[in-house]
């Protein structure tokens, strides 16, 4: 593409062979085709708004041609820009083609290029201004002996009255626990109850295989003063009755809840015999 655009190389005498060599070195420093165009424009020492885009295009294309002659490896973007500039140049030089609908005119393309250049220039200038400002740690310094501010934690405590009382209660519990002695209770043992029950059955009149009924409560000594003993007697006797019933030696009956419990002995075959 570019080879077809060699028309202006000799017309523009800005760049001697020496300059070309210079350019060869400079290319390393360019950040891209826009950057290079911007540099070319700056060399014209004209405000970008008044720059001749046509001149700029010529110079750029000239450079590309020289770079190619020097067999310099050019990045693709430089070649694309060259093609675009060649197209721009033709649009600017040739009469307007009215059938080219929707395409930008040469002037519009030139304006776009100009905007692109001015915008990049603005950013480059801004970078220069930014870095010429006093910089921290270089021109301006912060506190060298800075210390972290101290934090002192002040605790407030919370506790409820319940916790206080519960704690005191637990101390007392613990205190009593250290002196605890098991209660020495007078209770009727199972063996004793079993003997008593069997003796009671023995004394009962018999009919067939059964003795007469007796109530559980009749087994308890009504004159016993020790209530705990009375209760344990009742419980043990009842348990003894259940134990006998399990082996078929007695029957237990209660007509309704909370009614008296009746018991009678059951005489097995071999005992009868």
């Amino acid at each position: 593409m570019n080879d077809n655009q060699n028309t202006d190389i000799n017309e523009d005498n800005l760049f001697s062979d020496d300059d070309g060599q210079q350019f060869n070195l400079d290319l390393e420093g360019y950040e891209g085709p826009i950057d290079m165009l911007l540099d070319l424009a700056r060399k014209q020492k004209v405000d970008l708004i008044h720059i001749s885009v046509l001149d700029l295009a010529r110079q750029y294309l000239n450079f590309i041609k020289q770079a190619k002659d020097l067999k310099l490896d050019l990045a693709a973007e430089y070649l694309v820009m060259a093609a675009w500039l060649a197209y721009l140049k033709s649009r600017l030089l040739l009469p307007k083609d009215e059938t080219d609908e929707g395409e930008l005119s040469g002037e519009e393309m030139a304006a776009a290029l100009q905007f692109q250049l001015r915008r990049l220039e603005a950013m480059q200038d801004a970078a220069d201004q930014l870095f010429s400002r006093p910089q921290l740690g270089w021109d301006v310094f912060d506190r060298g002996m800075g210390f972290d501010l101290r934090t002192k934690t002040e605790a407030t405590y919370d506790a409820s009255l319940y916790e206080l009382l519960e704690c005191y209660g637990s101390i007392n519990r613990r205190h009593n626990a250290s002196q605890y002695r098991p209660l020495d209770l007078n209770l009727m043992s199972m063996d004793e109850a079993m003997d008593k029950l069997k003796n009671a059955f023995k004394d009962l009149p018999r009919k067939g295989q059964h003795s007469a009924w007796l109530t559980l409560q009749s087994l308890i000594d009504k004159h016993e003063k020790d209530r705990i003993f009375s209760r344990s007697s009742l419980a043990s006797m009842f348990t003894a009755g259940l134990e006998m019933a399990k082996y078929g030696d007695c029957e237990i009956r209660q007509d309704a809840p909370l009614r008296p419990i009746y018991m009678r002995a059951k005489i097995k075959e071999e005992q009868q015999a």
């Binding site: 060298g144 501010l149 101290r150 934690t153 405590y157 409820s160 519990r173």
Partner: protein, 201 residues
């Protein structure tokens, strides 16, 4: 630049140097950063005067100069942070013993708790503002007693220390006695009267 302005510039440079360096600087060290004709000593005394009533002061330690925050401000430069804390079990027990037995000595507290009171337990209660030292006991060694404070009453919403529930109240509420169940069994009515009793209900 007039002499006065030069002196002023030098003072400003010394000020900036002392601000920015991480170590206190001796006069000689400051000179290394200054033009030869500068009067560092004069600059330092100018600065010392300028910072006399400020939040920062220029101090010399072992012949080296540095800016420090004014010593009277130290309490203001510490961030106060509030934190709600739970009292430890030990502290809670100690507090309850002091509340019920005050005035009470440390040895008595230990006897009641049955364990020795760890260091710091009383400190926490003092920090909480709930206990304070009372009179010394008129006994061998004149041990210090401990009592509760008005803020203790305030915190626990008590009119006076006499409003603390008594041992009987605690017993009745089940907070004190473990043998409640057996007690009730022992005091229950006669077994053989139960049936008839029930009918009365």
């Amino acid at each position: 630049m007039s002499t006065e302005n030069t002196a002023q510039l030098h003072t400003r440079i010394v000020e900036a140097l002392l601000f920015a360096t991480s170590e206190p600087l001796s006069i000689d060290e400051i000179y290394a950063y200054m033009p030869e004709e500068a009067d560092v000593g004069a600059a330092i005394s100018t600065l010392q005067d300028a910072y006399k009533e400020r939040g920062v002061e220029l101090v010399s330690i072992d012949g080296r100069w540095s800016f420090r925050t004014a010593s009277d401000l130290s309490e203001h430069l510490t961030l106060q942070r509030h934190e709600q804390r739970k009292l430890s079990r030990a502290a809670m027990e100690t507090l309850s013993i002091i509340a019920y037995h005050q005035p009470v000595t440390r040895a008595e507290i230990e006897t009641i708790r049955g364990v020795s009171t760890g260091r710091g337990t009383l400190d926490i209660l003092i920090e909480a503002g709930w206990v304070k030292p009372g009179r010394r006991r008129d006994a061998p060694g004149r041990p210090l007693t401990w009592v509760t404070t008005p803020s203790f009453l305030e915190h626990f919403n008590l009119e006076s220390i006499r409003d603390l529930p008594g041992l009987d109240d605690l017993k009745a509420s089940g907070l004190l006695d473990k043998s409640v169940a057996l007690d009730s069994a022992l005091t229950m009515g006669d077994l053989f009267e139960t049936n008839s009793n029930r009918e009365d209900e």
